[in-house]
Each structure stands twice: as structure tokens, then as C-alpha cells.
Symmetry: C2
């Protein structure tokens, strides 16, 4: 910038004014043109770090993913969420940082991101139901949006309507005549999504007048293998369920394996419905019935919200719930 000022023979102030198009700066068109010309010739680009320092912002938003390395790598939707976030923030000249804060992260590495002013805001993926650290950060005024709901709605959050999605899944099973319906969660119930999907399951059963039975519920843990053991447990029950609602398609993979290993057929012997609608669901045999999760939209909404918060605008709603819809394929059938 000093270079272009010298080249044109004006002060850096003037250069700053024309390059930033400051209104009311009353710079004659000739000077203006000469400056623009010189900037082009010198291939001038403003130094973002200097700008950030003076403006007191970073133009960065962190997507913090609270999972173990393995879970992180296996997350089929992360790229979709990222894509959605980028679609909305990049036009506003914000960039996306990805940060893996592993669940047992005692050092609160994402708090450092804020303290050291490396980012302007936090998008937190898959928060636990109760998360003191996040709550604290929010109380301190940190721009935060939760992707995946926490309990309570005092922190801005966006998620699919997990209760409703699970409800619809179980409803589908009920309509097919199933009465004995198992559930295997996508993750421990300390995770908000798992918690809510369980509630949807319970709600549908309750409305159908079916008593909730603890022994019909198993706990998955994000990855494909984690569905195997809990499904085996269900199959070992004296009266095994005729259908099972699995809280994640990925976990359903292990569930299907367990069923196959027991030489049972889907859907003839047991109906299976998943959640998420991963890409390959339709290529499974049989193609998996599931609940579609609009991941790109989730990212887009989260991006819009964090942008508003950072820019000091007020949010239309603290809590955004995106609709899911049932994708009926061939892993579910009428109870026989």
C-alpha cells in the first residue's frame, strides 16, 4: 500500500479511501483512476492480518466437531454440512476452519480459538445434551451456534426435528402392523440427537398404546460396528421384535449384519428403518428405508445464523428445526 501511494504520489490515507470505496471522500476521478491503475500494476492485495488487527475481527468461523478421530472420519454428513456453511459464509468473505475437539478434550481447545481471537464465532457440531463449557462460552458473549440441539433453547441452535423424524419412522412401522418395535440409538443418550430420537420413539409407542419396554432399546455409538452387539441382544430376547428403528444408517449397517448372521431376512423376518439417508442406503440389499436428513440445509442455516450473530443482528428464532421426511425403500414390510 505504501508502494502504490508513493507511485501515485499521494498519501496512504488517500489510497485507503479509494481502494475501500469510502463514501464522502471526495477524491477526484483522475486521482482515483491513477490509484486503481497503480494498485493493479503492483498487484496490490490488502494484508488480511493487518486488516483483522485494526478491525478487531478474523473473518473466520470454526466448525468444531466433538468426536473421536475415528467417528470424525466416519461422519458421512460433515462434508455436506461444511458445503452448506461455506455456501453462505464465503460470499460474505468469511472462511471456514475445521477443528476436531475430541469428546474427552480437557484442554478446551476451541475456547482457545476464541480467546486468542483466531475465529469470530463457533459452530458446534454434535453437542452433548448438557455442555457446561459451551454454555459458559455463550454466557461470555461468544457467537455460537449449535448444530445438533442442546437442551433448552437459550443458545442458538439448528437441527433437524429429531423427535418428529423418529416419530414418523416408528409411525411407519406401526402402520405396517408392528407392535413389538425395538430401538437402537445412533449414540449414547447424552447426545442430544440420540436423546430426541428416543423421545420420538417413545411418543409414537405411547400414542399407539404400547408400553415402553427398556429391554427393547440398545445403544449404538456412531460407527457401523456399534450396531452389531445391541442388535444381537435384541435377537436373543425370548420374544424378539418384529421391527427395529435404528437411530443412524451407519449404525444400521452393523444391525443388518447381526440379522444376517442370525440367518434372518429383512424385511420378511424383521423390518429395519434407519435415520440419515446416507448415500449408499439405496444400494444396500434390501435398499434401506430411512429418514432423510437435509445436511446441506443444516449447514446453510447454521452459517446464516452465526453470520447474523457476529454482525450483531437479531435472530428470527433461537432454534431452527428442519423437517425430515421418510424415504420408504424395501427394508420395511408389513408384520406377518
Amino acid at each position: 500500500m505504501k508502494d502504490v501511494a508513493e507511485r501515485v504520489g499521494v498519501s496512504r490515507t488517500t489510497v485507503s479511501f479509494v481502494l475501500n470505496n469510502i463514501p464522502n471522500s471526495n477524491i477526484p476521478d483522475v486521482t482515483r483512476q491513477r490509484i486503481i491503475q497503480a494498485a493493479r500494476e503492483l498487484d496490490y492485495a490488502p494484508n488480511a492480518q493487518a486488516l483483522n488487527l485494526v478491525k478487531g475481527r478474523t473473518m473466520m468461523i470454526a466448525l468444531v466437531v466433538r468426536k473421536t478421530a475415528h467417528q470424525f472420519a466416519a461422519d458421512a454428513f460433515l462434508t455436506e454440512v461444511m458445503e452448506g456453511v461455506m455456501q453462505v459464509i464465503e460470499p460474505h468473505h468469511f472462511h471456514l476452519m475445521v477443528h476436531a475437539a475430541h469428546a474427552n478434550d480437557a484442554n478446551n481447545t476451541y475456547r482457545e480459538l476464541i480467546r486468542m481471537r483466531k475465529v469470530d464465532g463457533l459452530l458446534i457440531s454434535s453437542p452433548l445434551v448438557h455442555d457446561a463449557e459451551v454454555r459458559q462460552l455463550h454466557a461470555e458473549g461468544t457467537p455460537i451456534v449449535l448444530q445438533g440441539a442442546a437442551d433448552g433453547n437459550d443458545i442458538p441452535n439448528v437441527d433437524v426435528d429429531n423427535v418428529q423424524g423418529a416419530y414418523a419412522a416408528v409411525q411407519h412401522l406401526l402402520e405396517l402392523g408392528h407392535r413389538r418395535i425395538g430401538h437402537i440409538s445412533n449414540a449414547p443418550f447424552s447426545y442430544a440427537a440420540s436423546h430426541d430420537r428416543l423421545r420420538g420413539y417413545q411418543q409414537a409407542l405411547a400414542e399407539a398404546g404400547i408400553a415402553y419396554d427398556d429391554s427393547l432399546v440398545g445403544v449404538g455409538n456412531f460407527n457401523d460396528d456399534s450396531g452389531y452387539a445391541p442388535m444381537m441382544a435384541l435377537l436373543d430376547l425370548p420374544a424378539r421384535p418384529s421391527a427395529v428403528f435404528v437411530g443412524s444408517d451407519t449404525v444400521a449397517l452393523g444391525v443388518l449384519n447381526a440379522i444376517r448372521d442370525r440367518r434372518l431376512r429383512v424385511p420378511q423376518d424383521i423390518s429395519v428403518i434407519g435415520f440419515d439417508d446416507i448415500l449408499v442406503g439405496k444400494y444396500l440389499e434390501p435398499p434401506l428405508t430411512t429418514v432423510h436428513l437435509p445436511a446441506v440445509d443444516l449447514g446453510r442455516h447454521a452459517g446464516e445464523m452465526i453470520l447474523k450473530i457476529i454482525q450483531g443482528e437479531t435472530l428470527d428464532a433461537m432454534s431452527v428445526r428442519l423437517p425430515t421426511h421418510l424415504v420408504i425403500r424395501r427394508s420395511t414390510a408389513a408384520e406377518s
Copy 2:
């Protein structure tokens, strides 16, 4: 920092010295302790933007992904690569920015990242075989590592050994007795990986004394649907192949669909081998034989290389090729 200096009654210089543990600064332990104490009490954290400005670096590395939004979202390995990169850069206090530079991106948005000093280096994913822009950036001294090889090895790059992987896949088919072997690429041949996998295919055929036949080769385009049409074309041939090597498991999904729609059986009527070893491969029916791609390792190596380049160290090798290995499942069988 000013606050802690005032609180202790020393200059900011002194504070800076002790907080940064500058050697030979000869600060008495008492002062040192008082400063550390004050910093803790005031919850002091250095402002990264100011640091960056004075140090002339950003502590950010961009992963630029050159794909369309849809391809980006469907990339099963991106999270694994990211995980690997983060594993190695975060201990060095670098962070990962993700940037989607869509293939038709005329504005060279990733060049801006460097010009404006938003990042210290670029990790470029899936580069085209010839990429003038990347070449230019490298010539200008920008730290760059290609993940997915470009032609020539003058730009640091890390990739799996695509030629070897494809060769092994086709070799497997040849050993099963197949002579008429088709190939459907993972992407247009302007992409380095596709180009190399084609070469491995050709090489294996050549060594087996089988003439290369253009009509047996189709072009995929990253996503699952893209395998369908080219496979249909192969099946419509007067003499259809008895086996097909597909350059990507995701593309193989469409290929399998085409085969199913023609009422042919895998592997009895036609053997299929993929590439990548996506999570769900083993859950397909039949489980997909494929070539395993060590994605986390890829990210780890790329991270190590870019770190060295940024820190001015010399690279052990300009070009790193990670081994793949065959994962034999049940989609391939002896030619009948």
C-alpha cells in the same frame, strides 16, 4: 498485555519476554512469577491477529478442494484426509481452513487466500493433470502440496500409487482368468488419479498380452450415478466384458445398478472391482472387492510436507506414494 504489565509494574517488553520464554532475557524469578501470576489472573491470551501481523504468518493452512458442490459433498474421504492433516498440524499450532474452489472457478479464489495472506500454505486436493494456476503459484514461491498427483514431480505431492493400485486390481482379474476386462474411470482423464489408474489398467493388460480396446473404457464423474450410463454402454457391446475395473467404489455403485437392471449377476456373470474401499463396500451385496486407499495417512503426509515447506526445511522427497492393497471380497470370481 498492557494490563498485565501495569498490574505488575513492568514494561510490556518484559511481559513479552517472560510469557514467550525468551532465552537470555535474564529476568529474575520473582518478576517472572509475578508476571505469570498476573497473566493468569487477568486471563490473558495473546491476540493471534497481532502476532500474525508482526510475525508475517497466519498459522493457517488451506485445504482447497477442486470440485463442484455436489462432488464435494459426496467425497467419502475428505473427512479422513482432513483428520490426518489436523493430526499433524494442530500440535504445531496450525489450523485447517477448508475452501471449495469449484472446478470452473474463474476467480482463482485460492490464489486470493495467499495474496491476502489469509493462509501460509495450500493443500490442493484432486488437481487436474495440467494446472497452470497451481504451477504458477508454486513458481512464485507459495508453499503448496498436491494431494493427488499432478504430472511431473516438480511440485511437492502426495498420493496413493494409483498406477500400482490399478495394476493390482486388474492383475487380480487376470489371475481369475478374465481376458475381456472393461474399465470405468472415477473421473475424466484430465484428473491425475483417473489418468494414472487408466495407465495401471493398460499396463496390466499389456503385460498379459491383451490388446487395449478403447471401446471397453468408460468415463465416470465422481458420483454414484455417473457409473450407470458407461456401464450400460459396456453391457450393450456385442461382446461384453466378463469383468470390469471401476476407478472408484462410489462410481461402482452406479455400475452395480446397471448390471442389476440388466438382470445380470455379480460375480457369476460379471466381476466388479472398485477402488477406494469406502466404508459401506463390505455391506453391499455382494461385498465389493476393491483397492484400499489410506486416506488418513494421505492427509498426515500432506500435513507433514506442507509444514516442512512453510518452515523452510527441505523435503525428503518431492513425491510421496503411499501403497494401496487389495481387499478381496465377493464381487470378483473366476471367469466361467
